[in-house]
Symmetry: C2
Subunit: 119 residues, 2 copies
C-alpha cells in the first residue's frame, strides 16, 4: 500500500511549461502524472476524494458511483497512487484515500503563465 514505485515529486515539478528546456526526464515524469489523469474514471475518483468532507474517502464509497467492478476501481486507485496524486491508508477493515495537496499545487504552477511580459 505504501511502498510503490511512485513518481518522484522532486522531478515532475515546479517550473511553468512556458519556461525553456523541459528535459527529457522531466517530460517523462510529467507524462506519467498526466497519464494517470487521462481517464474519466480516475478524474472522477480524484474529484470524489478531493471533494469529500474531511478530505478522505473510503474505497467502499468510491465503488458505488461507477458501473465498474471492485478490481477495476482498485486498479484506478493504484494508478493514481503510483502517480503520486493520492495516498491510501488502511484503518481496520476499510481503506481510506486522500489527495496529496502538493501534487495538485505543483500541477497548478506548471500551467501558470509568465505574466505576459510583453517584448
Amino acid at each position: 500500500m505504501s511502498k510503490l514505485p511512485v513518481v518522484d515529486a522532486s522531478l515532475a515539478c515546479c517550473a511553468p511549461l512556458s519556461d525553456p528546456a523541459l528535459s527529457e526526464q522531466e517530460a517523462a515524469e510529467l507524462a506519467r502524472v498526466f497519464k494517470a489523469l487521462a481517464d474519466p474514471v480516475r478524474l472522477r475518483l480524484l474529484n470524489l476524494i478531493a471533494s469529500q468532507e474531511g478530505g478522505e474517502a473510503c474505497v467502499c464509497d468510491l465503488t458505488g458511483p461507477f458501473e465498474l467492478t471492485g478490481p477495476t476501481i482498485s486498479h484506478h486507485l493504484k494508478v493514481l497512487r503510483q502517480a503520486g496524486l493520492i495516498t491510501g491508508e488502511r484503518r481496520g477493515t476499510w481503506v481510506y484515500y486522500q489527495v496529496i495537496p502538493e501534487a495538485l499545487t505543483r500541477l497548478s504552477g506548471l500551467f501558470a503563465l509568465p505574466a505576459l511580459t510583453s517584448a
Copy 2:
C-alpha cells in the same frame, strides 16, 4: 488545419477538482485534454512552443529536437490541436504553432486548492 473536432473549452473547464460533482461529461472532456498531455514528446513540443520567443514555433523547428520522423511529430501536433491546447497556422511554405493561453490558465485553475477552509 483549423476545423477539427476540438474539445469544447466551455466544458473541460474552470471549477477546481476539489469542487463537488464533476459530471461524467466534464470528466470525459477533461480526460481528453490530459490524454493529450500524457506523452513526453507532446509535453516537450508544448514546452518548445510555449517557450519560444514570439510565442510561436515552426514545425521545421520542432522536428530537429526529436529522433522521430516528420509524420510522427505531425501526429503529436494534431493531438495537441484537437485537445484545444495549441493552434496552427500556415504562412507560405511553413506552418506555425502557438499555445492557447486560456487552455493553460483553465488547467491551472483546475488544480487550485480551496484555501484550506478548515471545518
